[in-house]
């Protein structure tokens, strides 16, 4: 368990993972559930355990749509999406860990893609 990493994730997310009562409503409501290796409730539990490196290595952090359905419906106000975001930032902020580079952009472009989505994607996936 990496204590510093846990501390960093807790601080940057602002989430108190101890409020979780393990009902699983976050994962029940998640539209990306089937895409994810680790599901929203597992993010909360694994961050509590300090098992953050496993999450950082998993593709799950890029599958979260940040739709905030889990935040909206969590009966305990835990805000799992913010935990996912914090773990993703912990990964992306490491040197050489950008998940999106400008050279990839042209091939992704299509007429329907709003510019704003590209800006948001950079904010989410790159330093």
């Amino acid at each position: 368990m990496n204590k510093n990493l846990k501390e960093q994730v807790l601080r940057s997310s602002g989430v108190n993972v101890l409020k979780c009562m393990r009902c699983g409503k976050c994962s029940a409501t998640c539209p990306s559930y089937d895409e994810m290796e680790y599901h929203p409730h597992q993010f909360v539990y694994m961050v509590e355990k300090g098992d953050i490196e496993t999450l950082m290595k998993s593709d799950s952090i890029y599958k979260c749509l940040t739709c905030f359905a889990c935040v909206e419906r969590c009966p305990r106000g835990v805000e799992p999406a913010k935990v996912v975001e914090a773990v993703r930032l912990a990964a992306v902020r490491q040197q050489g860990n950008n998940h999106l580079s400008p050279v990839q952009i042209p091939e992704m472009l299509d007429d329907d893609l709003p510019q704003q989505a590209i800006v948001t994607a950079f904010r989410k996936y790159a330093k």
Binding site: C23, G24, K25, A69, P75
Partner: protein, 663 residues
């Protein structure tokens, strides 16, 4: 000259571990007026009390200071000990060196210093103590039960059994409450009506019990043993005495489209109605919001068909006043409103129901005559999903932070009953935890799983989506399998959290009782006084104090009755002599005290005074009713002229304590 004895308690190690008790006794022995200062291991023990008694006799003490625990624990013990050897009990003072000193400090030096200061303050106060004599006030031998559910009925029956008159005030047209709506009861699965209705009949036939149905408490005045309550008997537009409950009016009433509250709005009733067949009293009531005659004067059918001539369209709300010695609150609960839970589609889909609605759907007197059918198309449901903890254990403003306690068990009951009656139905229960403490409760839940093959899935439902083919898609977590499930259901049943009835809060204000942040009434002590409120003479029965199932409610109802009987058997009760009094020569008649008094104990009167020049003048001055005053001291703080003073806690005594502490 005062002769004061100081007694310092070790309380085992509770005090002695952090306070040097010998040093405290030694320091206090030098205080003015102190003639004896001792320490002892357990001052509250028999031998400890004897130590105090012997010292009072031997040294002819005029005041006693006991440095020990909080006065809430043992003040009474030492006062009784003093009284037994002839010292006025109000000449005993407690210095709290445990809760407010030894338990909160870690260093011996600090704690000892503080204990000495607290002891000095108590000695300074006892110098000014005056002997007080407690008065007596008579007890009215009649009890009021507010709420006519199973809690109120049981309490009333038990009090009546002891031979005292009891009035039940019920806001609905019939007594019976929530239990009357329930189909079967856990864990024995006997029919709720079969065990409740005999009690309702018993209550109505008992000569000691008066039922005020369709009535509300409008005002409460007075104090323990002597409450004056105004009861508002709402106009039901039917003469209760004349009505025979034949139901001819109900049959003929042309207004048939009124949502039926008793069936949770799942079917309709008439504008004139009797809630259910076994209603007590079995009397019709006209709903003025729907009655054509009352709304626009066009109809009058019920009045024509009533052979007893009981219909009275001109009936008005009536107020009656009655005196009571004790009041028992039994206002009960309701399921919370689920409109804010969009994810469960409760307000969009008729086949998503609450558990209480399911009770009615399964009841023989319910909208489908006891056959479980979907409300939307009246077909038999083949897949039913139960969702637990809807609004319970929630940390947001939509729900309640507490566990509603009864849902795990009634869901197991529902699941079992459905599997028993319709074995071709698949039943899923989504749970966070299954909580079944209670006699035969866990066995009951296990039976649902093992014998009836109910699918219990650990996880929560995230989304309920009604589909165009009439089915309902239930998206949920299966945490143990680490899967997200989609169940194609016919019906969804939501175990809604329960909350106290909305009438409880205004009632608490009238009764000057305390509530918690969830509007449950607060008991006087969470462990040792569970059925008494902190206000003397007010008792708590049933779910108004916290979520409860029927066995617990009945147990608490009988306990509340026992406490009320304990009060009613007394001819008079001893009053607290530590009450406020006003110095009429200082009072300037400003009314500040009257405004802050929470008990209504202060009144103003015009009084004649002789002036120095031998004339008389009329002045407006405050006077305190000592029987009503609870000694809270609010008036003494509010009084700008210093006319108000509290016996036992006089302004001069408090100042003496402050001086002693600051010296």
């Amino acid at each position: 000259m005062q002769r004061i004895g100081v007694f310092v308690c070790h309380c085992g190690t509770n005090i002695a571990a952090t306070v040097d008790v010998k040093a405290v006794a030694e320091a206090l022995s030098h205080e003015p007026g102190v003639v004896i200062s001792q320490d002892y291991q357990y001052m509250c023990s028999e031998s400890g009390q004897n130590l105090v008694k012997d010292a009072i006799k031997e040294h002819n003490l005029t005041g006693v200071v006991v440095c020990s625990c909080s006065p809430r624990m043992h003040e009474n013990t030492f006062r009784k000990a003093a009284a037994s050897v002839g010292l006025n009990p109000y000449l005993v003072e407690i210095a709290n060196i445990r809760e407010q000193c030894s338990w909160i400090h870690k260093e011996i030096a600090t704690a000892t210093d503080k204990a000495i200061i607290l002891g000095k303050a108590a000695v300074a106060k006892v110098h000014l103590n005056a002997p007080l004599t407690a008065g007596e006030s008579p007890v009215v031998k009649r009890a009021l039960v507010i709420g006519g559910g199973i809690a109120g009925i049981q309490t009333a029956l038990d009090i009546a059994e002891a031979g005292f008159d009891v009035d039940i005030v019920e806001k609905k047209p019939t007594i019976g409450g929530k239990m009357a709506q329930i189909d079967k009861t856990f864990p024995t699965l006997d029919c709720a009506a079969c065990i409740l209705t005999p009690k309702m009949v018993e209550a109505s036939q008992n000569e000691h019990i008066t039922i005020h149905s369709f009535s509300e408490v409008a005002d409460v005045k007075g104090f323990v043993g002597n409450f004056t309550v105004t009861i508002k008997k709402k106009a039901r537009y039917v003469d209760e005495v004349k009505c025979t409950g034949c139901g001819a009016c109900v049959e003929k009433c042309p207004m048939k489209k009124v949502p039926n509250e008793f069936n949770e709005g799942l079917d309709n009733r008439h504008a004139i109605y009797i809630p259910f067949a076994q209603a007590v009293p079995k009397v019709a009531t006209i709903d003025p919001n729907y009655c054509m005659m009352l709304k626009n004067g066009k109809c009058g059918v019920c009045s024509k068909v009533c052979a007893a001539g009981a219909i009275d369209y001109k009936q008005q709300d009536k107020f009656i006043e009655q005196k009571y010695g004790a009041i028992i609150v039994a206002t009960g609960f309701n399921p919370i409103n689920l409109d804010k839970y969009d994810e469960f589609a409760y307000s969009q889909c008729p086949d998503v129901v609450t558990s209480l609605e399911l009770e009615r759907l399964m009841n023989a007197a319910g909208p489908n005559g006891g056959t479980l059918l979907r409300p939307s198309d009246k077909t038999h449901p083949h897949t039913i999903v139960f969702v637990q903890c809807v609004g319970s254990r929630c940390d947001d403003e939509k729900g309640k932070p507490y566990c509603s306690k009864i849902c795990c068990m009634y869901t197991a009951k529902h699941a079992m009953l459905i599997r028993e009656k319709y074995p071709d139905t698949e039943v899923y229960v989504f749970y966070i935890d299954v909580r079944t403490p209670g006699k035969n409760f866990d066995e009951f839940y296990r039976r649902a799983v093992e014998q009836y093959n109910v699918h219990y899935i650990k996880g929560m439902v995230g989304k309920v989506t009604p589909k165009s083919d009439g089915k309902i898609d239930v998206q949920a977590s299966d945490l143990l399998a680490n899967e997200q499930l989609h169940i194609n259901a016919d019906m969804v049943v939501l175990a809604a959290a329960i909350e106290p009835d909305k009438t409880a809060r205004p009632l608490a204000t009238m009764l000057t009782t305390q509530m918690d942040t969830n509007d449950f009434f607060t008991e006087a002590h969470p462990k040792l006084r569970p059925v008494e409120s902190a206000t003397a003479g007010i008792f708590l029965s049933g779910a108004c104090q916290g979520p409860k199932d029927i066995p617990e409610t009945v147990a608490q109802a009988s306990a509340a009755a026992a406490k009320a009987i304990g009060l009613l058997v007394k001819n008079s009760i001893t009053c607290n002599p530590c009450v406020a009094h006003s110095d009429e020569l200082l009072c300037n008649g400003c009314s500040s005290c009257e405004k802050v008094c929470p008990y209504g104990a202060i009144t103003y009167q015009d009084k004649e005074f002789r002036m120095p020049d031998r004339t008389t003048a009329i002045r407006r001055v405050a006077s305190v009713n000592p029987a009503v005053c609870q000694g809270c001291g609010a008036c003494t703080v509010a009084c700008p002229s210093g006319a108000m003073d509290l016996n036992g806690f006089s302004n001069s005594q408090i100042m003496a304590e402050v001086d002693a502490i600051c010296k």
